[in-house]
Each structure stands twice: as C-alpha cells, then as structure tokens.
Symmetry: C2
Subunit: 517 residues, 2 copies
Amino acid sequence: MNGAHAVARTLLECGVEICFANPGTSELHFVAALDDEAALRAVPCLFEGVATGAADGWGRMTGRPAATLLHLGPGLGNGLANLHNARRAHTPLVNLVGDHAVFHKKYDAPLESDVDALAGTVSGWVRRCEDAATAGSDVAEAVAAAAGAPGQVATVILPADVSWSEGARPAPPVAVRPPATVPDQTVADVAEALGGGEPAAILLGGPATREPALRAAARIAAATGARLLCETFPARLERGAGLPAVERLGYLAEGAMAQLRDVRHLVLAGARAPVSFFAHPGLPGPLAPDDCRVHTLATAADDAAAALGRLADTVAAGAVPVLQAAERPEAPSGALTAESAAAAVGALLPEGAIVVDEANTSGLWLPGATAGAPRHDWLTLTGGAIGQGLPLAAGAALACPDRPVLCLEADGSAMYTLSALWTHARESLDITTVIFSNSAYAILRMESQRLGTSADGPARRDLLDLSRPRLDFVALARGMGVPATRATTAEDFTAQLRTALAEPGPHLIEADVPPLF
Amino acid sequence: MNGAHAVARTLLECGVEICFANPGTSELHFVAALDDEAALRAVPCLFEGVATGAADGWGRMTGRPAATLLHLGPGLGNGLANLHNARRAHTPLVNLVGDHAVFHKKYDAPLESDVDALAGTVSGWVRRCEDAATAGSDVAEAVAAAAGAPGQVATVILPADVSWSEGARPAPPVAVRPPATVPDQTVADVAEALGGGEPAAILLGGPATREPALRAAARIAAATGARLLCETFPARLERGAGLPAVERLGYLAEGAMAQLRDVRHLVLAGARAPVSFFAHPGLPGPLAPDDCRVHTLATAADDAAAALGRLADTVAAGAVPVLQAAERPEAPSGALTAESAAAAVGALLPEGAIVVDEANTSGLWLPGATAGAPRHDWLTLTGGAIGQGLPLAAGAALACPDRPVLCLEADGSAMYTLSALWTHARESLDITTVIFSNSAYAILRMESQRLGTSADGPARRDLLDLSRPRLDFVALARGMGVPATRATTAEDFTAQLRTALAEPGPHLIEADVPPLF
C-alpha cells in the first residue's frame, strides 16, 4: 500500500468521511487512492477557498472534521481566508496539503514555497509527513488533534513521494481530547458572584451556543437576573421558538459597550472576554467597563454546557427558563429593502433550517425578524474574513442533507468565493442563496463615516462602489448551473423565496436592496 | 499629515502611479488619503488575487512597481497565489497590507493573524511600520527594494494607527540597486566554452527574454552554433516576426530532457539551471544531462543583456542574427479544437499585442501558430499558481493602454480569479479573453496518465471533470459586464476573435474545444 492510500484509509478509520478537494499533480496519487476508498466522499471545488469554507461548514454542523485536499503553497494560500474563519470557529478540520517530493524540494522548482509557514498561521497543529511508513499515523494524529476540544485546524503536509511510496499502512484512531471539566471551585466562585445582587451577564460562546448550554444559562438567568449574551460571531447558534433567546453582542464597539455598560459581573462560558473588532481612535480595545469583573466559568476547551448545568443546579434549582415565543413577521409588501427582505425571511424560515449569515450591513434586521421563527441554526462570520457564506452553506448542506440551508449573502462578499455555486449545483444541494445586492461595500462606507474619513471623495466613491458595472447575479448563478431570479419588490422577493424554499436543490435570488450607507 | 497620507505621497514621489485595491476598515485612512493624491490611480478589485495578479501584469510591462492595498492576513492570503507568480517573475511590486492598530494586536481580535509570516513566504523584503513618523521612509525603502535588480515583491505592513496618526511626512526616493555588471572573466570563460566546438545552448530567462538580450544571443548563436532556448515560463518574452526565435524549454521533464540531451555546455543568461516542474518517480530533478557543463553568464540580478552583448562582441563580431520570418497560419475552418483555435490566433494576432497565456493544455499549438505573427509580448504562468491570467491581463492593459491584450485562458484556471472580468469592464480595458472551455482539468488527466495512476476510476473522473454542470462563461462574463459570445466551430471562433480584436474594450469568447486528455 502506498502512502496516499494509507492516508485515505486512515481518514476513514478515524471517522473522516468527506474530502473537499482541489487537487494538483502532487495530489494525484491521493486522488487515485480514493477509488479504492469510495466511502471517503470526494467533493470537487473550483477554488481552494470553497474547499476550506465547505469543510468549515461540515465541521460546524457535525462536530467532526472534514478533510480538504490542497495543492502546495499557492493552493493553501487560496484556502487561508476560510481556514482563518474555521480557526476562529474552533472547527475541527484536517487539511491535506500536497507538496513536492522530499528529494525535489532542494531544486526550488517554480511551485516551491514555504508551506509550513503558511500552515502555521491558521493551524493549531501541523505535521510534515517524512515517510510513507508513518503517513498513516501522522494522519491519525492529525484527526485527533483537529477533533480534540475545543476543535481546531490540523494540517498534514504530504510530499508527493510519501504519497507514491509503498510500505505504508493505515493507522488506527488516536484518542481525542475531551472537553475539560471545570473545577467545582470555579463554579462556586461564579455562583457567589452571581448571588451578590449586582448586575451580571453571561456571555456564551464557542460550544456554549447550543441547546443544552443555552437552557442551563437561561435557568441561571431566570433565577439570578443575569442577562444572556452571546459573542458577536458565534460559530453555530441554536435559536428560534422554544429555545432561550440570546442577545448577540454588537459588532460596533460603541454598541457592544452600551450593551455591557451596566454589567458588573461578566461570566464567560465558552467565550473570550469581548474586544473591539477593529481598533478605533479614542476607543478602548476591551468592551467590558473598567468596573466590571470578568469571570471565566469555562473556556472553549472546557465542557461549558456541563459547567453551566452545574452552575444552574447551584443557583437556579427549580428555575424555569424563559423561552422564545413562536412569532413571525407578516409577509412584507412594497419596497424591497434590507428590512422588508428580513421580514420575508422571518415569515418563511422553515423548521430546522440552517442559516448562513454573511449579509453584513444588509443583515441588520435579520436576527430580530427570525427570533421567533421555528428553531434553526445560525452560522456566522467567525473570523471576519469575507467570502465565507457560499462555501460554508455547501458544507452545511452536505453535512445535513435533510435540512434546508438558507445562505444570506452580501454581494461584495459573494464575489470572493462565487464558484461555490457550482458545487451547490453539482451536488444538488438544498441551498437557497439570497444575494443582498446593494452594489456597494456598504460596511466600509459606514466604517468610513465612523472613522471620520467620510467626505465623499473620488477615491472613496470609487473603491467602495460596486455599481459600475452592476453585477448581475442571476447571470452569474446561471453560468454555474444554479437557477436564479431577481426580486425588486417585497412581494417578488417573498414569492421567490417561498418557491425556492419549497423546491429541492439550489436556488439563488438576487434581492435588489438599497445600501444602508 | 497622517501616516496614510505620507505613504500615498511617498509612493507617488517614488514613481508608483497605480494601486490595485481591495481595502477593508484598517485601510480606510489610506483610501481617504488617495483623494488628496489623485495622481495615484486606485483600481478597485473584487478579490485580492485580482489585485496582486494585476500588479504583477503592470510590473512586468512597465518594469516599475504597482502597489496593492490588502486587508490584514486574510486579504494577503487571498492574494498569495498571484504574489507567488510575481515572485517567480521577479516582478517589482509593493504590497500595502493593513493591520490592526499596534495597541490592538494584543487583544487577538477576530481578524488578527500572523501577517508577517504570510508576507515572508512571497516577499523578498518585509517591513512592519511601527510609527507614523517613519511610514514614509519605510515605503520609500519598500519601493527601492521592489525595483532593485532583479525585481521582487516588497511588503509593507501598515497598522491602522500608523495610518491615522499625525506627524508623518513623505520620504524622497531611495536609490535603486541596478543590475550587476558581469565580470570580464565570466564573459571570457563562457566565450571559451562556446569556442570549443561542443554542442552548446544558451538558456535565456528573467531579464534576458527582451529584445536587446535576444538580439545579442542570436548573434552568438549565429556565430557559434549554440541553440537559443528560454525558460519554460518566461515572465515576458518578446517574440514574433523580425525578432530572434527562441525555443521554450518544455513543461514536461521528458520533453525538456530531450531538448537538452545533446547539449554539453548550457549557458545561463538570466535563467536558473532548469529543473523538473514536478518530481516524478524515476526521473531526476535537474534537466540538463550529467555530462553537460552549466555556465552562469548572468543571473536574474545581473545585467544579462549587457553581458550577452559583450559575449557577442567577443565571439560573434559581425555575425548576423537569424530573425523570425513574418508568417501566419491561414484562418482555420471546420471543427473548433485547441489546434484550430491556435491557428485563428496566429492568423489574427495584432501588431504589438500583449498575450497572456494561461491556456494550459489547450495552449499546446499557440507558440507555433504565433511564432511568425507581428511582434508581440508573451506573458506566462511563472510560478505555476493557476488563476493568474485574467488579473495579469488587467494589469498589462492598464500599463499599456495603447496595446491590445489577448488573454488565452483555460476554463479551470479562469474560475480562481474570475472577478477580474469585472475590472476589465469597469476600466474599459482593451482585453479579448478567450476561454478554452474543455470542461476538464485536462492537465491533471495528462499527469495522471504520466504518473501511472490513470485508470478511469470514479474519484479521478469526478475530481478532474468540470462538466457537471458545464460552466457557461458567456453568462458569467455578462454577469460582470463583459460582452461575450460562444464559438463552436473554427469559423465562428475566427469571426468572433476578429470582431473582438477590432472593437475597443473587453470581450470574452468561450471557445468550446475538446479536451486533449
């Protein structure tokens, strides 16, 4: 058995069942090995950022790593932005990055570059395979490293000759590090802080934005009066009717600081102490007020749900959590705007939907309009590297073939990884993509105003404008095999969204909305 | 004056006149500064790989650096693949990469990552600005580092607070390192080697693929019988009727080894000793035979044209170089194939055209079909990182607004940086793009056969196939504002190419050709 075959078999034996692939010559032995390991599903992607974003979506929804297959340094480079998002999401993910044969590297052939340095910037664990004999065990360790709490990106660099050399064998799974148990004293300390009567909030993040943690946190809130917050960009927030409602911390520092202004005890459960997304002149980095004590109940690597449950048992025995009532906005009419589009989404969001939110400024009303919709998952832009939504939706749809996926996407962001639409079509994924087409980098116009650099000068007008020419997303989607329509009124949009959600397979709706800024 | 303004002014004073930009929040002060420095032309790009590829095209055609404007680690990551190509092309290029404010980095905000490590993988020179007071001089040094022989990527990391802080001032240009003069003894040694009567070849590369070097090399060839070769992927090869014809070294190791089999003296002029693009089992890395002596006349950092001229004066006084005769294929008819499409290109290529060649397997007949066309430049995929062609064409067209650009592009490669078409439309660039649409990663099918992994298994069929669904490049181009047509016969293609070349502004032709593999 050659190294590539041992790697493929090991992935399967360690529970990896899908590989998002954009191979090149150095990966062809691995591609060949997939013929003999057909249980490892290979999904072709036309760009590496699609592969890495899809692997992130798969990992967020399954809790288990997908693999990627990438071609040397430039291939990894193209995948870095979505690996950055995966890193911030604590997504378990295994990159296989092909490299030149070991004996060939010294020649500095045209594709040679420092793969290790690139890998290190996004990976919690990196291993360069040196020998076919150990390729299997290297990959088994990579899967364990990726899957261990709190989840991370693990990268295996696989030289071509390691792939093609014989003498390899698959390796059995390696034990995965479970989430750590929070010490009793920590739970007791937080219980004491919450019991003092001062204003408190619980900031949920990482693994604590899922139902068990949410329910425990809601019991604590009901008993102690603590507010329930979650981090600005959760990897996967379970929400909707029947679940506890959680207030997301605002993206803008001013807003988040206002949310936290009166808090004297901030309890972190899976989240880190909140900081400003960007620095701004005159604003501090940390968002909690100076007189707020920050208590870490659980980090992302801890069993945050259990810790919250124990805390609830301590401070909230018998407390009844407040749950979100079922309620939807009415289907909107009139002008199509970010606000009316959000109402349509809220009116129609199906039970069990997976919502991928990269709507940016056009998404302002989405959380409110969908708060009381049937329960669903909300996946966000964890690392701030735009171009995540369309690939993430692909991975989520493959992970959960029985659930509808709604991808809410800003036009500017969509253009970074647009070829994900081809994967939507190729795999017949049940994804409805809404492009909020406002023909602007509106978030930069907003930030420009905030920074006081907002005079309407020619460079700013030019560089933040997407209207010359206007992008035609209906044509772009059709060019990649995704049926598409354009909506210019709220009624149009509602009708098109209803149709797209009702029909299986991919659809795209270009929603022409005015920019907010 | 704030740091951003000083940076913009310094770029202009150092001769940088264009900036390919995909900014984010951290770059907004620089965007604002451009309003006051309108001579620095800002070209918006919808993806960072478009910005870096365009900057590469600009640098190859002007010999002077363009700037890019990129947003933190993920933005640089998205630009890495084409920076890799620029690095291999020795293109002078200055990246401005915004970063978090210095005081903000410690908070590990969501977009924080190791920008320096990323920059190091593609840059010959990296500087992190620490202070507005020195931002101007940092940038002046970057321009000089980029422009100095042999040309390289220089990256300036510009924290947001350096940009917005006052107390900065522009810096004057820094002296640029000229190409080094080759010692007399080196010229004499090579003259002696060429005078011994053994079979010899001159391998041209780097700066030696332009007219003065070509003419000198052709004189030497005429006098000594040495063959004229050039590297497989020249950054910019001047060719066509009236110029010396040069044989490019083959992409496949077997082919290149056959070309070099009888050579006993290989003289490197601006090129490195040739090595196999990829390792293959049983093939050596170096391509020259064991009994071939390799003589370095000039490295890419040397004045290779002058060295060749001096060598010609020594060994070839009075020799008359052999020049390419004017000849074109006839306009083809019948089936549209890679071969007939090449004939059409050869029949119609305009005088002074800039040809960007990322046609991959579909380009097999292009060099032959265009050898005797009116003189033109030929730009190739120097680093092997696909997704170069459409952006490179944009940069070349902006650099040379009076010259037609013909971008010959493989379908698979086009999808990596397709949004460059929007820039073609936005800037009304005179670019004719031909997409060789064979619905396959045909080069990988070929490599798969070569590697002996070619059985037609399901994974290989799936991962190397682009036909399910077939990409519709006419729709994709129109979606970004570029007029487009599809050709399915040689007559169609010829007529469409004639029209596209005759009309100003961007056009795209989807040429449906069967895959060669």
